[in-house]
Structures are given as structure tokens and as C-alpha cells.
């Protein structure tokens, strides 16, 4: 019987994990544009690839 309490707690933790991931994804703007990333992945990386494409729009300094 004690097992079910552990399982419920674990299920809650998993759900919380997904909730937090969802918030993170929203916050970093991953739902803002659903077209560009789908195209971006198909571009060929040419040999002299010196462009650092950033995935989350954050700044590199």
C-alpha cells in the first residue's frame, strides 16, 4: 500500500518537471516562431562555416 504514495509523488514530480520545462521553453521564446527553426535545420553547413548560429537568441559576449 505504501507503494502507491511513492508512485503518486513520483508522478507529481514528473509532471512538475514537464511544467518547468514548458515554462522554460516559453520564456526562452521557443514558441514565438514555429517556422524559422524548421527551415534552419535544413540549410547545408558549408565548409567555411564561421557563423555561430545561436539557438535561443541570447547574447554571446
Amino acid at each position: 500500500m505504501g507503494m502507491i504514495y511513492i508512485m503518486l509523488t513520483v508522478s507529481l514530480l514528473i509532471a512538475l518537471f514537464f511544467l518547468v520545462s514548458f515554462f522554460w521553453a516559453t520564456k526562452t521564446g521557443q514558441f514565438d516562431d514555429d517556422y524559422a527553426p524548421s527551415v534552419r535545420i535544413l540549410f547545408d553547413d558549408e565548409t567555411n562555416n564561421n557563423s555561430k548560429t545561436q539557438t535561443d537568441g541570447s547574447t554571446e559576449i
Binding site: L8, D32, D33
Partner: protein
């Protein structure tokens, strides 16, 4: 040859330019190709054919204002010692090739560190070394055809409001979790285990708290506001339902009787928020709320003590001397200081003729300067000018909350019925079993909660809006659909709406030209991108004359005309003054040509859009009106295609148009206004529905409720019908949602509403309604005969 320009895909007029085994329509396109292929960006052309943008002939000077610190800092998001970041709005972004090119800008200029495109917003976030000036960056983008738009600052300033997503996240999380824990409850497995029951109950309670206090808060606020102003909206019965659900569940938890309806509560909020989210997905990249500032240059050159300085529009004071360039829109009411100037007022009045002004003449804001640089003295500041005052008048009058009027009306009946049923049930049960009165009354309130009803409108309207969008009519928000469905009168603007603004019908009068001479004239005209020249070229090409001569000493004098030498013969094409011909009619509707000794005149008349003659017939149901800023020259043409009884008015100023619509509305008409220019803004703003016509959906349009593709204009009637169909679907949804409410009520009234029944009825009814509205609109879209060309 017939494939069109390798870069932009446009039809090549005449010989075109042959380079690197490819054909180009103009030098600009060839240059972009050269630049791209030198930078190893050839993949651009493989992704999508002819996707390039025709570059405009912008000079670096055009962007000089970006180097004024005060203006620059407005656009720069972030800056440190050697690196800066800027977010630019680039309306031309339209396909995967654009993304590829912009994100690889670093190959063209090493000083650009990276670029990230947000396709949905048509924005590019660019990181660059500060050794590259912002003006140079803008100029580079301009050169490759992606002119950044600095005037429309609003779109990039738009705050990212993500609270709706967070609310949705919490509700979804709570819904899933609570339902999982409630399973034993549904199946009656752990009924005899009070310890476990209270564990899940309190767990549900904890999880539901953020849903109640955060996710659902909008509904409480909205209902409170409605009651405060003694009106009703759909949020009132929803709030009653939510409160009944939640309080009943709390009570149940505190007396250790299980988690109550917590699962239904969370699910209910979850579904409602999905509906809200669905409805809010609009065309974010289109700008419906441009104010006059979007049309004016961001900054202008001011002369103080003979020193030129660049200032923002806001900083201009009365009596300042401004220096305006060719093609710039004058931002203030001014007096001309230079000797002569030509002003294009088509923006403001819709009149296509340019107007000559002399020193000391008064010039209204909104006119476009044509030709030489001119000095102007400011009489009124930008925000007090004649034009903007008209604009502000409209703005304040039309404020729409985006609420569904239809639903708000429904909610009155709904609430009345709800209260009557709850009261009757309580009285009846008082005689049957007085201990259960409270329980039954609460059950009635719970089950009658208009969840499905609340979902039907967002989904039906949201789907209809997307259907219309696919066919070329882009709505600002879903409430426009309701207003479209009540329309009685349609008012058309003429120039740019019924007639195409870039195509003219050309007639030639004058000395007979030989084929050789025709080719020469055609070649000369082909060297200019001026719309009148292009019309002449099109006219010649229809006669099988190909512009193939080479021109020597070619010159294009802005505002005057073109000249050059072909086979030793001197050619001139342009205004009467320039060519030295006698003035016949006005200069804007004709162009004079002189070739050697011969001379002649091309006359231009506006050409109706393709297929527009079929439009009026389809719109028989509505009363039609035409208001135009132009003179009467096209009266016969319009009379021939519009049915009798159509009211046609010419020489209408923006105020006249505004007042005309207002007068119709006072006569209890619901008016749909279709126009294109800044001169229609007042009318578009006050009309019940204002639709702006645009050749390209992402070009500048005045503020309006909807934007229609110029090509889709002839399909206006089917589009209006599609919109009207949403009403039918809404009724069907309504019938379904009410039938679920009645089913639920029968459980509630007989005292059999268990949490399990509620947990089944609520999602099932919501899903049915969502399916009906989605498939209804989808099927309608498939079977209606409208096709996007």
C-alpha cells in the same frame, strides 16, 4: 528567357541583363546575385526559385539619421565596447530563402557576427561589431532587397506577454495530475481507505490553488467589471460555474468526502484557456494599427545657423527650417522656403496629380516631395497637423474590446434560465429531501456552466479567420467577423482599390513613329523603373516591340523625365516642360516624347483591376457607393460596371469621406469601407469594418480592421459569405452545447451528479463543439468555390 528574372522571378521586359548564364530583369537584381555568389551564398537560389527581392536604389545618406546618438539608441537593444545587437523589422521576409540569406549575412560582411530571424514577426536580431555602423548595416540590407523598416517601431516594441502561456501551463498541469489521482475515486477502489483519500484530496487542493488564483483570474476580473457596470457578459455565468465547482470541492475536501470536482474544475479552466489562446493567434506580422508616424520619416534634416543636423520628428519645433529630399513624406504643416517644389498628395487626398508649389505656399503634412531637395519652414508640429488631427479624432472614437457581442447577448438569457432552474430545483427538493437542497442547487450551477458555449465562438471564429486568411483576407481579430456579418452598405474608394495603382492604360497621339523609332522609345522607357515608363514598355511589348537598342548618354532627371541618344538620335521622354512640348492636359496623366524632329504624347488613364468588372454583380445584396479623391474622368467607366443606384462621388477630401460614412451610419446603415491610401484612413477607421487593399500583404497599409490582397478583391462576395457561414456553425455548436447542458441538468436535478459524471460530460461537450466548429469551417472552405489565385 520566359522563366523570368533569376533573382526576383519577375517577368523580364525586353532584353534584360544576361550575366553568368542567367537572366536578370534589372541591374539591381544582377548586383545582388553577384554579391551573393561572391559570398558563397548560392544556396539561396536553390531553396526557392525567384525568391529574391528587387533592391531599391537607396543611398547611404538615407540612413544617416541612424548615426544620431539619440535615434540610434532607440533601436539598439544592447551594446558593449566592440559589439552591439539590434532588432530590425524587415517586412520583406517571406520564405526559407530569406531566412537562409539573412542568417548568413556574416559571409557578406565579417563584421556581422550573427543574425537570427524570427519569421512570425518578420524580425531579424543582428549581432555586429561596432566597427560596422548601424547605417551601413541598414544600407547593406537595403542593397540586397531587405529594407529594414524603422518607421514602424511599434511592432518591435510590442511587449512579449507570455502570461497567457503560463496560465495555460498551470491549468494543463493541474488537469492532468488531478485526473490521475482521481482515478481510484472514479472506479471506487479506495473508498474504504480514508487516509489515502485525504492524501489525494489535499494534493489536489494544493495543485488547484495556482489554477484558481492565477489561471482563472481573468474570468473573475472580467465578470466583476461587467457587474460593476451593470452589464452582463459570458464571463459572469462562467465565474458562477467556477465558484460553484471550486467551493463545493473545497467543502468536500474539508469534510473528508473525497476531492470533489477538482478535476473538472482544472479541466474546465484548461479548455477555456485553450479557446482563448486559439482565438488570440492572429496575424502578428501584419500591422493593423499603424498611426500616422509610420508614414513619416523617422528623422529629418534641420538647418540651424546654416548647420545641418538630423532630428527626430518629435523634436521639430515651429519655425524650424527642414531640408527634405526626393520621395520623403513631409511630416508637418509647412511653408515652402525654396523657389519651387512638386508635391505628391496621393497619400493624403487620393488624387494622382502632382501639385506645383511656389515659395511661400502652404503645404499640408503627408505630401511627398518630388524632385529636388527643398527647404520648408514648419508652421505646426507633426502631431498637431491637419492630417493627424483627423486621424486622432477617429482613433478615439473606435475602441473595440474584441468581445463577442453575440455571446454577451446569449449570456443574458443563459443566466436568467440558470437562476430560474436552480431556484425551482431548490424549492422542489426542499419538499423531497430538505437536507439535499444545497447540494442540488450547487450541482445545477456546476453542470450549467457554459463551457462548451464559451468555446464555440473562439474556435468557430478562429477557424473562419484562418480560412479567410488563406484566401487573402486577413482580419485584425475575430470580432471583425461578427461585424462583417451585419454589413448593409459597401463603400469603395476608387484609386488603388478599384483601379490598380501601378498599371495604366496608354494611348499615343502625335507624329507617326516608325518601328525603329518605337523600339528606341521603348528602350528609353525601359531604362527607368518609373511606373509610367513601365506602362509604356508594357504597351509596346503587347505590340511585339522589344526594347533592344543600346542607349548612350542616358540620364534620368527626377520629376522631369528621361533622355539619351540612340543611333545618334536624341530622345527625350517626360513632362511637357522638360521635352519642350506644348502643355496638353496635365503632366501626370500624360507623358511627352521627342525623338529627333518628331514629337508626341502618351496619355495614361487608370486601368481597372483584372476581373473587377464582375465584382459589383455579385454584391447585389448590398448598397454600393464609390467615393474618390480624383476628378470625374472615370465616371463612364465606373457607371458601365456598377449597377444603377450606385452612388458615385468625386473630389472627396479625407474629411468628406469620413463624414460620408458617418452620415450613412446615422441613417442606421452598417458600412464596410474598402480603401487603400492614407486618405482613406479616416473613413476606414470610422466604418464598421474597414478593409485596406494591398498589392503585397506585408506592404504599408493604413490602419484598418482587415487587409485584403488586391488579387482577392474580386472574390469579395464569397469571402463575405464564408464569414457569414460562421454564424450557422455557431448556431449548431450552440444547439450541441445546450443539449449537453440539458443532459447534465437531468443528472443534477435528480441528484445523481457525481464527480465522475461531471468529469465525463464537461470534456466530451467541449471536444464535440471544437470538432464541429473546426470541421464545419474546414468543409465549408473545401466546398465553397472561392479559390485563391
Amino acid at each position: 528567357m520566359s522563366e523570368g528574372c533569376y533573382h526576383c522571378g519577375d517577368k523580364i521586359l525586353g532584353k534584360g541583363i544576361h550575366f553568368d548564364d542567367k537572366d536578370f530583369c534589372c541591374i539591381g537584381c544582377k548586383n545582388v546575385y553577384q554579391l551573393l555568389s561572391n559570398s558563397a551564398l548560392g544556396q539561396f537560389y536553390q531553396l526557392e526559385k525567384g525568391a529574391g527581392q528587387k533592391p531599391q536604389s537607396g543611398t547611404l545618406e538615407k540612413y544617416a539619421f541612424l548615426e544620431v546618438e539619440k535615434i540610434r539608441s532607440k533601436f539598439i537593444d544592447f551594446e558593449d565596447v566592440d559589439h552591439a545587437r539590434v532588432t530590425l523589422f524587415i517586412p520583406q521576409i517571406h520564405c526559407s530563402s530569406c531566412i537562409y540569406l539573412l542568417e548568413n549575412l556574416t559571409r557578406i560582411d565579417k563584421r556581422i557576427r550573427s543574425c537570427q530571424v524570427n519569421f512570425a514577426k518578420r524580425e531579424a536580431v543582428i549581432n555586429f561589431d561596432t566597427s560596422l555602423k548601424l547605417s551601413e548595416l541598414a544600407h547593406l540590407l537595403d542593397q540586397i532587397g531587405y529594407t529594414p523598416n524603422f518607421g514602424d517601431r511599434k511592432s518591435s516594441e510590442q511587449k512579449k506577454d507570455r502570461s497567457a502561456m503560463y496560465k495555460l501551463g498551470f491549468a494543463g498541469f493541474a488537469f492532468g495530475s488531478i485526473m490521475l489521482w482521481s482515478f481510484p475515486e472514479y472506479l471506487g477502489i479506495e473508498k474504504d481507505n480514508p487516509e489515502f483519500r485525504s492524501f489525494t484530496s489535499y494534493l489536489s487542493l494544493i495543485v488547484s490553488l495556482p489554477v484558481f488564483f492565477y489561471s482563472a483570474s481573468d474570468y473573475f476580473i472580467s465578470a466583476y467589471k461587467a457587474l460593476k457596470f451593470k452589464s452582463l457578459n459570458l464571463d459572469v455565468p462562467i465565474t458562477i460555474g467556477i465558484l460553484a465547482l471550486y467551493l463545493q470541492s473545497l467543502y468536500s475536501i474539508f469534510i473528508d468526502a473525497g476531492p470533489g470536482y477538482m478535476d473538472s474544475f482544472a479541466g474546465f479552466i484548461f479548455f477555456l484557456l485553450i479557446g482563448k489562446w486559439f482565438q488570440s493567434k492572429t496575424y502578428r506580422s501584419l500591422s493593423f494599427d499603424r498611426d500616422y508616424k509610420a508614414y513619416f520619416p523617422v528623422a529629418v534634416t534641420r538647418i540651424i545657423n546654416e548647420i545641418e543636423e538630423i532630428v527626430t520628428i518629435e523634436d521639430i519645433d515651429v519655425d524650424d527650417i527642414l531640408l527634405m529630399r526626393n520621395d520623403e513624406v513631409i511630416p508637418c504643416d509647412c511653408i515652402l522656403e525654396s523657389e519651387h517644389a512638386r508635391i505628391d498628395y496621393s497619400f493624403v487626398t487620393g488624387e494622382s496629380e502632382h501639385i506645383s508649389k511656389k515659395k511661400g505656399d502652404f503645404i499640408y503634412a503627408g505630401g511627398k516631395l518630388i524632385g529636388q531637395r527643398s527647404a520648408l519652414k514648419v508652421v505646426k508640429e507633426s502631431d498637431r497637423s491637419h492630417l493627424t488631427s483627423l486621424w486622432n479624432e477617429v482613433r478615439s472614437e473606435k475602441e473595440n474590446s474584441g468581445r463577442s457581442i453575440y455571446q454577451d447577448k446569449m449570456s443574458e438569457y443563459f443566466l436568467a434560465a440558470l437562476l430560474i432552474i436552480a431556484a425551482t430545483a431548490s424549492i422542489v427538493w426542499f419538499f423531497i429531501d430538505s437536507s439535499r437542497v444545497m447540494e442540488i442547487a450547487v450541482a445545477v450551477l456546476i453542470v450549467a456552466c457554459p463551457c462548451a458555449l464559451a468555446l464555440s465562438a473562439p474556435f468557430t471564429y478562429g477557424n473562419t479567420m484562418r480560412l479567410l486568411g488563406r484566401k487573402g483576407l486577413y482580419l485584425k481579430n475575430t470580432s471583425v467577423i461578427e461585424r462583417i456579418n451585419t454589413i448593409t452598405d459597401i463603400v469603395f474608394d476608387k484609386t488603388g482599390t478599384l483601379t490598380s495603382s501601378s498599371q495604366y492604360h496608354v494611348d499615343y497621339v502625335g507624329d507617326e513613329l516608325s518601328d525603329q523609332e518605337k523600339i528606341a522609345v521603348c528602350s528609353l522607357a525601359n531604362s527607368s523603373t518609373h511606373p509610367l515608363s513601365q506602362s509604356i514598355v508594357n504597351q509596346f511589348i503587347e505590340q511585339q516591340i522589344i526594347p533592344s537598342s543600346t542607349i548612350e548618354n542616358f540620364e534620368e532627371l527626377t520629376g522631369k523625365g528621361l533622355q539619351g541618344k540612340i543611333n545618334g538620335v536624341r530622345l527625350q521622354l517626360g513632362s511637357s516642360q522638360f521635352v519642350g512640348a506644348k502643355k496638353t492636359g496635365n503632366d501626370e496623366s500624360s507623358s511627352h516624347v521627342r525623338i529627333g524632329e518628331k514629337s508626341g504624347t502618351f496619355r495614361f488613364s487608370s486601368e481597372l483591376r483584372d476581373g473587377i468588372e464582375r465584382l459589383p454583380k455579385t454584391l447585389e445584396r448590398y448598397t454600393l457607393h464609390i467615393i474618390s479623391g480624383d476628378g470625374e474622368q472615370d465616371l463612364d467607366l465606373l457607371k458601365s460596371i456598377f449597377p444603377e443606384g450606385t452612388q458615385i462621388h468625386f473630389r472627396q477630401t479625407p474629411e468628406d469621406k469620413f463624414n460620408y460614412i458617418k452620415a450613412l451610419q446615422t441613417a442606421n446603415k452598417k458600412v464596410l469601407m474598402i480603401g487603400d491610401g492614407l486618405n482613406d484612413t479616416g473613413a476606414l477607421g470610422i466604418a464598421d469594418v474597414g478593409i485596406a487593399v494591398s498589392e503585397e500583404a506585408f506592404r504599408f497599409t493604413p490602419s484598418s480592421d482587415a487587409i485584403i490582397d488586391a488579387e482577392s478583391l474580386i472574390h469579395l462576395y464569397p469571402l463575405l459569405q464564408s464569414s457569414a457561414f460562421s454564424k450557422t456553425i455557431l448556431r449548431i455548436c450552440l444547439a450541441f452545447s445546450l443539449s449537453y447542458n440539458i443532459t447534465g441538468l437531468s443528472f443534477a436535478l435528480t441528484g445523481m451528479l457525481t464527480p465522475l459524471v461531471a468529469a465525463v460530460i464537461m470534456p466530451v461537450s467541449s471536444i464535440t463543439v471544437v470538432c464541429i466548429s473546426t470541421f464545419g469551417v474546414l468543409l465549408h472552405g473545401r466546398f465553397s468555390r472561392v479559390k485563391k489565385i
